[in-house]
Assembly symmetry: D2
Homo-oligomer: 426 residues x 4
């Protein structure tokens, strides 16, 4: 019982890591790089629309490790169905738990927002790799302390590479532990539709299917018991996109951020800009240690400085972010071409004396309820495999629809002007 971590969690209830194997989670939780995740909100700007959604990457990382623990329990129960090479021994269990905890350790400030507004910079996945492999990080040192090969194994697994295919998919696939935790956590914290994703039932419905003559088991879902749970997962994902991730205030805040970073690039270095961010803006190389200095707090502090700066455009954008004076939005008709809408909007903005690049834009996103290449298989009661779209009319029906979010974004001051000028596009 030594070294047991027991935590209360609003989403999962009780989270515990007990015993020698699970002990790796506590060791990693105590590293500086994982503690940094406490200062990065998981949902970026979504708390501007959902005040409850203020949870950090840290809570999500711990939750992901908990889901992995439950996955490992499930695989143990299914052990008799699969070849020995698909079972997970203690060493591999440590790697799996570490990968679940660390999969997002490379996130920058405001989570995905940061990548969205700095599209040409390295993705968080690459930073995760750097942090795992850099001998100077505490995370690396803990992993290496287990075995010199562990950092590479964890890094590989984070990116979906593993000698055990079903484990690779459990870290980086449709139903991975990351997504299971964040869909649950984001639903719960935003107050939106909790209850759709039923983790207990989803785990109980998981099967490891060994195709005739196959060497490795593949994840499948029991069609008798689990179709509802699987549909619930995809419905939850669809609704989180529609209601939260693509909420108009979230997209508007992202657009303000993008304009702000664009402006910064056009200006000389501004007081208050963190050095690592300055380098990223200029396309210069940034060391792992320097990157790790960036978190929500450092960005908020910079925003405050920029709001007091001398460039009026930068000042306007920073103030918008600080005080939640976001761009306003107006829905556009699906048949209007984005190029046309953008041209018209830019003209309105220019006529009103704004530089279009820093004053909004046209935002069109299309999401799908299910993509065929997610390739989820359903195991029938008589041992037959079906594609999800064949087994589930709900998924079939939803997959025929496209969900489009299409809006013009502009400063609130221009609401009436834009509404009048774009009347025929609404």
């Amino acid at each position: 019982m030594t070294g047991a971590v027991i935590l209360r969690d609003p989403v999962h209830g009780l989270i515990s890591f007990e015993g020698e194997v699970e002990g790796v989670v506590e060791q990693l939780m105590n590293t500086r790089e994982v503690q940094r995740l406490r200062r990065i909100r998981a949902l970026g700007h979504a708390s501007l629309a959902f005040p409850g959604a203020e949870h950090s990457r840290f809570a999500h990382a711990v939750g992901s490790a908990h889901v992995m623990k439950r996955y490992l329990d499930r695989v143990r129960r299914l052990a008799s169905d699969i070849p020995a090479s698909d079972r997970i021994d203690d060493d591999m269990a440590r790697v799996a738990l570490a990968a679940a905890l660390l999969h997002d350790v490379g996130h920058g400030p405001f989570s995905h927002t940061f990548e969205v507004v700095l599209p040409e910079a390295r993705a968080h996945e690459e930073w995760s790799s750097s942090i795992l492999l850099d001998p100077d990080t505490e995370v690396h040192q803990v992993l290496r302390g287990l075995d010199p090969r562990v950092p590479e194994l964890v890094e590989g697994l984070v990116h979906g590479r593993s000698p055990i295919p079903h484990l690779a998919r459990a870290v980086s696939g449709t139903f991975d532990v990351d997504r299971c935790d964040y869909l649950l956590r984001d639903s719960y914290m935003t107050g939106v539709r909790y209850g759709l994703l039923d983790l207990d039932w989803l785990l109980a419905a998981l099967r490891l299917y060994l195709p005739p003559g196959g060497k490795a088991a593949t994840l499948a879902v029991d069609g008798e018991k689990g179709l509802t749970a699987v549909e619930g997962f995809f419905l939850n994902r669809l609704y989180m996109y529609r209601q939260v991730y693509l909420h108009k205030a979230v997209r508007a805040a992202d657009a303000v951020s993008r304009a702000l970073f664009s402006r910064l690039r056009h200006l000389d270095p501004q007081p208050g800009t963190p050095p690592a961010l300055e380098s990223l803006l200029r396309g210069q190389t940034v060391s792992t240690g320097s990157f790790l200095e960036l978190d929500d707090a450092s960005l908020h502090a910079a925003i405050r400085s920029w709001a007091d700066g001398s460039d009026p455009i930068l000042c306007d954008l920073a103030t918008r972010l600080r005080d939640r004076r976001l761009f306003k939005t107006m829905r556009l008709r699906p048949d209007v071409s984005p190029e046309h809408a953008r041209a018209r909007l830019h003209q309105v903005l220019r006529d009103a004396g704004w530089e279009p690049e820093y004053a909004g834009g046209v935002d069109r996103v299309k999401i799908d309820a299910y993509l065929e290449d997610e390739a989820l298989m359903v195991l029938g009661s008589r041992g037959t495999l079906q594609r999800l779209l064949d087994a589930s009319p709900v998924m079939h029906g939803l997959s025929q629809e496209s969900f489009v979010h299409y809006r013009a974004l502009f400063p609130g001051e221009l609401r009436q002007t834009v509404a009048a000028a774009l009347e025929d596009l609404r």
Copy 2:
């Protein structure tokens, strides 16, 4: 229906402010000073022990306004029981909603932590007054826009002064809307014992009692229907103190912060210290505008700077906070005098080469389940009034006990040394 705000909230479900009277809430939510509360965590260091507890003052402020809305609904239902002077008209309802939203607008970084570690500075209540009354704040301008007397009325109500006594208690009393929201929210977010405080039932059990010959109604609780709800409230409060607010990691983090601020005061101004904080540390006057620059983000940024600073003690303390290397704790026997324990601990610390002022201390807190001067009255089925302690054996039993949290705090490196040296005090 114009101007309706509808929000999802993990704690209350749906929060809405509709119509002309409730519109004041939306106006105030959009001010810069209220938006600042998004950058201050409600529970300060508690998320170090409860990873879910990362909610901000903003979410709590909105929740408090929601509870006030429900209180006003309840008073309306009870209108026939009370004199006209105790009823709440539209103007007073606006004041009440504003006071509920703004009661904590003066909080500094890390909420209460900030006051705990800067005990001689102004309390957040005073800052709230300044913000409400300062003609330069947006909050003041919104309130004055309603009526020139409104800022003073709201400021008074925030401090428990009102021509309507029951309303004063609803903003600043045992069962006030602030406490109802934070007990619920903190329970929910920490994952601790939600369900004890039953707001629906508590409101349904509220009575406004007009004593024979009295002029103003006083809050009371229906003894037949509501005793359980009242006990649940106090049990919830007791448990939140025992499990969360006085959790050893929270107290240890507070102690580290206190040591850090103490060190800052002994040193010359350090790079990265926000100007307003520097003035507060030196006991100098700080303007409202300058105070409002302080939030969690600015403090986190400062901690990062101090961690890179040249003073080894400051550096150690800042690193502890940043990376959650808190002091460790050891329980002390209740009969040991704190002076004695402190002397013994300091000796150990000095012998080990630490400056005791910056390396821990002795922490003793005593809490009560109920204080007689909370003066809660229970209304019997036959119109008689009883003191809560006479009406409720649960509260009577708990009020006889004292709940003491008594610990030594010290750097983790010295765990064995301290354990051995203070063996006879455990």
Copy 3:
């Protein structure tokens, strides 16, 4: 506050009926006919598949009255949007609450099961009318005590007739208070997907839309705020059918019951059969008072008697119901014609020595996620009305699919025989 009823309810939390208008609910709850509903399970045989689903018609009736109370609150908030003739005064509010509580007062034993197995008997709606209008019932006497016209008004409203069209739909339409309560309650009690139907949000999204030049307002849903809530309602309904109402064990128990009643009709009157049931089986007229003697308890007692009776077929069927030895089920391919499947199954049953009429059958049910004639309208942000299928891609996608449950039913003893004989139909 006199006469307030305050109840705890697992589904709605706190249910209260306070004041003079709502007092009608308590009066009606105390009648013999409403108390009888305590002895009729709302979900009939579903508790055979979902052990938690043992709630009675009584709990559901009280819950429906609670939803009506909330609907009346909502209409009051919308009063300024609608003509005076659409508002609901105190007298009409009493009628509405009574109709909500009493809408199902005519249910027989095992709720819908009873009608399913006695298809030619009067439907429960007709029995509700009889009970409301029969001067000998306590329900009638309470209603007449309010005003002599009230029994007819309530009876009309129960069947969707009212001078206020939106109220008629709220009692008998797609979103009626009956369905809102039972979908929530059945979800909660079965443990299936609670959280899809969000009553708070659905009510907040309700609008009363007065078409240009129209005289009466019609129910609509705010497309901006409410589309998600509406989709949640239909998803919940779809899932309850798929998972609960059409669960294979529920259908199998219905089939056993049907066979049992069919057998009773072929036999002379059997000991233990309640007189009212005997008359119903023989197609004879039954008085209201006699019908009210039937409830789950009287049917369970009869089943016990029949299980001890002399006819082996009746005895077999009664024992199956009593001890949950239901027919087994086997899924059939959608393209197989039911006539063919039935002929093949009957041959197997006959070959094995069973009388097909009493030994199972072929069960094929098709459900739709949404029927166009539900005619739900969605109110756009600019005052335009859309059909639900045009406004919601989720509903459009689901409406394209058909959900078919198609099974053979047979005694468990024949499982292997049937599986082999019908191999080509699976």
Copy 4:
């Protein structure tokens, strides 16, 4: 995976019994004697006060087996702390699961009510023994099919006898699986204070403590992690007694039942009385098979017959039960002696023309929050054992109080008469 039972449960979420050992649960669930529990409500008359509380003994039995499964998991995790003789092998696990499922198989109609009103009859525990040991029951046959000694082992364990002391306490002790399920289930279904009993945390806090030199481990609770969970358990128990089990309507319904059975005994056998009940009333021996004919349905059917009978007192009492016309209650002052109160009440009843034996009475019940002989031990962080009352100020405070429910019961028609006549006793 063959033979897995997966159930949805409103209380525990997902309940599953998988694999060969747990398969015993499914076998037993399918017996006639366990299926009979579907027709007995767990809370007897409590649904008269809490409409949601209509769950059956069957749902509770399955829930208890689920808690036992979780207990066995916990013991497995603690295996290294205890001697081999305290570990639970597969055979013993089967016995434990069976005992949990079957512990209450001997309950009569309306659960405890039946024993309360027939105090001199055999207790349900004795009937459980008979059912387990009677070679004619299906339960016995399933158990004997495992091993001829199993029926006796299960019967012993149900009564708290086992070679493994900690297992005996887990079936029949303060924290036994029965109580854990029913406190949770009853809280949930009544809508009262769910959340106090935290089963996850309670299990995580369980320790098996082997005293120095001892041979068998004893249940204890981790004082560091588990004190709150233990207090929550006892608080939940206390509140369920105060709010539910001793609710005035429940006690009034019990009193009506008691009077009814008393009347039946004074009369000649009445039409409609089930034979087994007739024998029990006359103090005659009843066979197991005959006893098993009794359930809620048979009692409801009998009540209906008695309500139509010729004896006016019996008819009055049966009608009261059927239509919920319970006795009314009036609180009495704690210092009034029950004998005195009873004498005074009986005089009032007689004066009003009622036979006191059949018209109410005086009801006084005293409950304790904790009894010292529950002997719960708390394990300190340094391996020391403390009594619960020494470790927990909450339990100490509550244990000093006595909770007394003291009421007069009488027909509602006499409310004013009784109130006036007993004015000085209130």
